[in-house]
Symmetry: C2
């Protein structure tokens, strides 16, 4: 029997690399895409485009968190950048409980289609101030799956990689980075100044190649 | 500072008793009500009515699980009763991942309003075949909260009680059982034959009083 996996796909660099990794491991991949009220829908569209391109099953789930005060969803809050984020503090881009909500839907989906794996693009290196991206959080979620006795394993293949290592892995797996969307803002082209853009740029710089997503739109 | 709690409220006998228990412990209670595509909306309306009656904050969250094949949400499946459920099997009323999804929203809500407690009506005695109602599942979820370092505790005060014990506790706390809705079906009056109705009836019989919800509608 073929191994089946549910992939949490945001259309960003990390989760797309993880999707290509799971495919390279011969998993039959089913993508879960979340619409959690992001200020822009570019993320969702990008994720759908990638799933369609690969002819994979996917489901887009709308999540409402009326109480949510993250700058990713609240129009009244500005998205911070490296200069405005204090070390040791959780940035306002943190969406409370987000990864647990994502994972719980993934568990439901995986149990239903009898998948035996969940793949996540969680990364503990770059976003160490998010409490739901730490290794001990992931381990706790693995124990939840054990308690549910559903034989589903959580894989976070890029968990301990730097952005540079992730990009190197992705290039080997032929990830079409020109299609991925990393920016927190919904501008036509990546803003280049948000936290997420900066990390991505740093990664490509260290690998020593141009970011194909930027290259593609460099005509301005 | 007053203790704040998020209560998962379905409007049923169990969760309503738990709400009254949390109130008796002087918690400022915020109710979370889920619309997960139940065949009938009576459950949701009942929960809202109870929250309003007590003048409590509440949030109704719509959850979509397009893959879900539970008989509670799938029109093509009949809701089983005691006679049709085989021992050791998970009944078709099980909604895959449901409690994890509910809890994950509760975590998000509680983190945002800085609550320090979650109260659940989970019961391990009557529904022992649901994998997300077991003591080891709850313990695993408690460890997730520990990993998130949010100082939120999970309380499941009726976890190990029989239906009879729950009703006795509720009567002491003056729970208005006439308003609670337990039946899996959305008929005008409780069907009396589904799993959930049978358990409730057995409980009231053992306590030695009439179910006020049945009494109320006994005029037929």
């Amino acid at each position: 029997m073929k191994n089946k996996a549910v992939i949490l796909l945001s259309g960003g660099l990390d989760s797309t690399t993880v999707l290509y990794y799971a495919l390279s491991r011969k998993y039959e991949c089913h993508c879960l895409i979340f619409d959690y009220g992001q200020k822009h829908k570019k993320e969702i569209k990008t994720a759908m485009k990638i799933a369609k391109m690969l002819k994979l099953n996917y489901s887009v789930i709308k999540i409402s968190m009326p109480w949510c005060k993250s700058s990713l969803v609240d129009e009244s809050l500005e998205i911070p950048n490296h200069k405005t984020i204090k070390k040791g503090y959780v940035p306002t881009t943190y969406v409370p409980g987000r990864n647990t909500i994502f994972l719980s839907y993934a568990i439901s989906y995986a149990e239903t289609i009898k998948a035996n794996a969940l793949f996540l693009g969680v990364n503990a290196v770059d976003f160490s101030s998010y409490p739901d991206c730490t290794p001990k959080y992931l381990q706790a979620m693995r124990n939840v799956l054990k308690a549910l006795e559903n034989n589903i394993e959580i894989f976070a293949p890029i968990e301990k990689m730097s952005k540079t290592q992730i990009i190197k892995l992705g290039l080997k797996l032929k990830v079409p980075y020109q299609y991925t969307w990393t920016c927190y803002n919904g501008t036509k082209r990546p803003c280049g100044t948000c936290d997420s853009c900066k990390l991505r740029a740093k990664g490509f710089k260290e690998v020593g190649i141009d970011d194909p997503a930027i290259k593609k739109s460099s005509g301005k």
